[in-house]
């Protein structure tokens, strides 16, 4: 099954991380990505720029609203993602727990809703 690992971190706290620690954290992510790849679980993964670079778009009553900033104001912000292949949710949880973000923020796990599961076959 495919799972999305949504990485949520406190941006403000992370921005104040000393350089040396930030480098250590980046190296941990690199190692984690590598472990995913070596294990054959990695499908995709990217880091997102902070929310100050975010733009939200919404059309209501025929009017397009373009907003600076994220859709929802939350304590932790979406900071990146991994898409992985895992046999089941237990394996996916194992991977989520190894993600460096699990000890600094929250890793949200969402199964991909495969089209075959919601579109009946014709």
């Amino acid at each position: 099954m495919r799972y999305m690992l949504l990485i949520n971190n406190d941006e403000a706290a992370l921005a104040n991380t000393p350089v040396e620690k930030a480098q250590q954290m980046s190296a941990a992510y690199a190692a984690y990505t590598e472990a995913l790849k070596k294990s054959g679980a990695w499908l995709a993964g990217e880091r997102l720029r902070p929310t100050q670079a975010t733009t939200s778009v919404r059309i209501a009553d025929g009017k397009t609203n373009v907003i600076d900033g994220p859709y929802a104001d939350t304590k932790e912000q979406l900071a990146g993602f991994y898409m992985i292949e895992a046999a089941d949710i237990d394996t996916a949880i194992d991977w989520a727990a190894r993600c460096p973000a699990a000890s600094t923020g929250t890793v949200e796990l969402r199964p991909i809703w495969e089209m075959a599961d919601y579109m009946p076959k014709k």
């Binding site: 984690y32 590598e34 472990a35 995913l36 070596k38 949880i93 190894r98 460096p100």
Partner: protein, 414 residues
């Protein structure tokens, strides 16, 4: 460390869990319906967890629980009596238990309940969670976090296992001598699983997990006291006590990981080490060796460093050889390879590890990569060591251990 109210709360909570477990076991042993027994006591147990820390533990804790259960559940039970036939005798049994307790203690059926929970007909992965829930009253969400499963999955597995006990007629009895060994293994394995899940949070930052290590030891003591002639029960208790004794030494004041060889043994809990040694000696008098006694013996050799100032790796190597021949798990095999490296050199250790590497299960197994990285580094094979460290770092859950591995890796590229 702990303040006085914390200690009082912990003591009250332990008493509540103890009485709760006894009652669940007593009721379930008579109806085989674990879920109904838990249901009947759920409200009373919650009330005890809430009240006893403030008021103190009542004189007859089991009678208190049953009285509250009866008062609060009388309507619910009445409703169930009409809707669900077959559970009606539960209330009568509860009353019988209450009557008994006016003049004597309730017989302790927890061992029987544990044997039912760790029955071969119960899926092995759910045995430890089931024991934690029925004997100690932990909820599914707490257990799920400790075992790294989703609460919904854990809840389903527990419910399924309990129906299985009832529907397949799993007996609530301590097995006969002839089959006791194998069956006891399953019980001990479940207890050890609970302990190691708790052990994996060395800093004790997650209260749920730290509790699990404590509860594992508590269950170990219970089994050892109920089966005093079983050397492996004593062996497991000894093993857990050795490990627990080192808890404070596993992190430095900055929260960084300290490997066993570098731990300051002054920080070990010497009373626990002494108790562990006594358990191991007690087990040895029975003259039957087993996995847990051997593992405890390895810990005993490590603990001897506090007296001799050195680690006897030849003894450890021999113990792992013995362990490997009776219980050749990947964990044992890796530890044995490390012991070989210490006695015969890194080349021999690494050769042993490479043979293991054929096992695909080790691909995502952190200790394998960490051991491999350490030995490669010792042999001056920098680039390969870095690669192995990267794998180990990427597979590690604990941030402190991850930092430790990262520092080792950095030292290689400097």
């Amino acid at each position: 460390m702990d303040s006085r109210p914390d200690i009082a709360r912990a003591a009250a909570e332990a008493a509540a869990r103890e009485s709760y477990g006894k009652l669940v076991a007593w009721l379930a042993a008579r109806t085989r319906d674990v879920a109904a027994a838990e249901d009947a006591l759920a409200d009373a147990f919650a009330a005890a967890l809430e009240r006893w820390p403030r008021t103190g533990v009542p004189e007859k804790p089991e009678a208190w629980l049953l009285a509250v259960a009866r008062r609060r559940r009388v309507d619910a039970v009445r409703r169930r009596l009409t809707s669900e036939a077959g559970r009606d005798h539960l209330k009568l049994i509860a009353e019988e238990a209450e009557a008994r307790m006016t003049d004597e203690d309730l017989p302790d059926e927890r061992l029987r309940l544990m044997f039912a929970c760790a029955h071969p007909a119960i899926e092995s992965g759910v045995r430890a969670p089931l024991i934690l829930q029925t004997i100690l009253g932990f909820d599914a969400a707490t257990i799920a976090s400790a075992f790294l499963l989703s609460p919904a999955t854990m809840g389903q597995r527990l419910v399924r296992a309990k129906s299985r006990i009832r529907e397949t007629g799993i007996p609530f009895r301590v097995p006969e001598r002839t089959e006791l060994g194998e069956r006891l293994d399953a019980v001990l394995e479940a207890i050890y699983a609970a302990f190691t899940e708790g052990w994996s949070d060395p800093a004790g930052t997650e209260t749920r997990r730290r509790n699990l290590a404590t509860e594992g030891i508590w269950l170990g003591r219970l089994v050892a006291s109920l089966l005093p002639d079983e050397p492996e029960a004593l062996g497991l208790l000894s093993l857990m006590l050795f490990a627990e004794a080192r808890r404070a030494a596993r992190r430095d004041p900055a929260g960084d990981y300290v490997p066993l060889a570098e731990q300051d043994h002054a920080l070990w809990d010497h009373a626990l080490v002494d108790e562990a040694e006594a358990c191991l000696r007690g087990a040895a008098t029975k003259g039957v060796i087993g996995r847990y006694q051997l593992e405890a013996a390895v810990q005993s050799v490590h603990a001897a460093r506090r007296l001799t100032g050195r680690t006897d790796w030849i003894a450890i190597r021999e113990l792992y050889d013995a362990l490997f021949s009776i219980a050749g798990s990947p964990v044992v095999a890796i530890n044995r390879a490390v012991a070989i490296a210490e006695t015969e050199g890194a080349v021999a250790g690494l050769a042993t590890l490479y043979v293991l590497g054929d096992d695909k299960r080790l691909n995502d197994y952190q200790p394998y990569w960490a051991a491999r990285a350490g030995l490669l580094a010792r042999l001056g094979q920098g680039p390969q060591a870095v690669e192995a460290y990267d794998r180990a770092i990427g597979l590690e859950r604990d941030p402190a251990v991850r930092r430790f591995l990262q520092e080792k890796r950095t030292a290689l590229t400097r």
